[in-house]
Amino acid sequence: MAEERIEGVERRMVHRLLMHWRAARGDEGIPSLEAVFQQPCDGCEPFIYVLGVGDVGEEPEFERIGEFFADELPSDLTGKPVSAVPEGTLLERAVRYYGDILKKKVPMTLGGEFVHARGDTILYRSIILPLSGREGVIDHLMGAANYKVKEGDA
């Protein structure tokens, strides 16, 4: 597949992860967690988090969180529900629309601008991808996000 250049470091990471997800699924359908992690996604790992999805109505829990988010979190949230993410963090922005992916069962990208808890205004881009080990059942969500500080705000 010919790959055109896409502008912006945040867009490129989101794009790269989406292409990685597509490659793992092959022709169609939703890839499993194992299929996605079978091949390394060049440079994506630090920006990736994985949510384990339980029964309907249950809040997903973090199964892994990339080191990129470590600085903004007070503690390791692995094993904790999404509601444990502090407000005003990139991870909180990146994970807040997970319900839409569970409903639509397709990848979604979302970006925007917000004032980080640290005080910087940041421009971010995020993506959440559905993962399925059993047909028709979303058992994991894989997300990623990165950002840049808005010019004049650094």
Partner: protein, 131 residues
């Protein structure tokens, strides 16, 4: 109050447009769409811009990208060929007609011959009885 815009990518599969992904970024959506149409897994791609106006609570949809591979119409003719292949089966039914006609003719001839033999036998019996 404001408007919310999203870009939905659809892929044409098995006669239906199936949603592939949703983006809030037009450039990202169009970039993905162009990549997808270049892939052998996709024969048609379109991007729909969905604008939701909170003030009016209305959503306006607009196709901003649509591309279908020209070669994708070629695989369809085999279906027509299949239909044509079915058609000879219909004349095949008419081929049966001569068969049934022949059978009827043979049956009629046998019946006539049988009746003739019976008549000959009856006449022979009558003649021998008269003698």
């Amino acid at each position: 109050m404001g408007s919310h815009i999203s870009y939905e990518i659809y892929s044409y599969k098995s006669g239906n447009w199936v949603i592939d992904s949703i983006h809030d970024d037009k450039a990202m959506a169009l970039h993905q769409a162009k990549l997808l149409i270049g892939s052998p897994h996709h024969i048609g791609i379109r991007v729909i811009e969905e604008s939701y106006d909170e003030a009016t609570d209305k959503t306006v949809s607009k196709v901003i990208f649509k591309k279908q591979k020209t070669g994708t119409r070629k695989p369809k003719p085999p279906k027509k060929e299949k239909k044509e292949a079915v058609r000879p089966a219909v004349p095949a039914a008419s081929v049966k007609k001569p068969d049934s006609f022949t059978k009827r003719l043979v049956f009629l001839l046998l019946a006539v011959c049988g009746i003739g033999l019976v008549l000959v036998a009856v006449v022979t019996l009558l003649m021998s009885a008269m003698q």
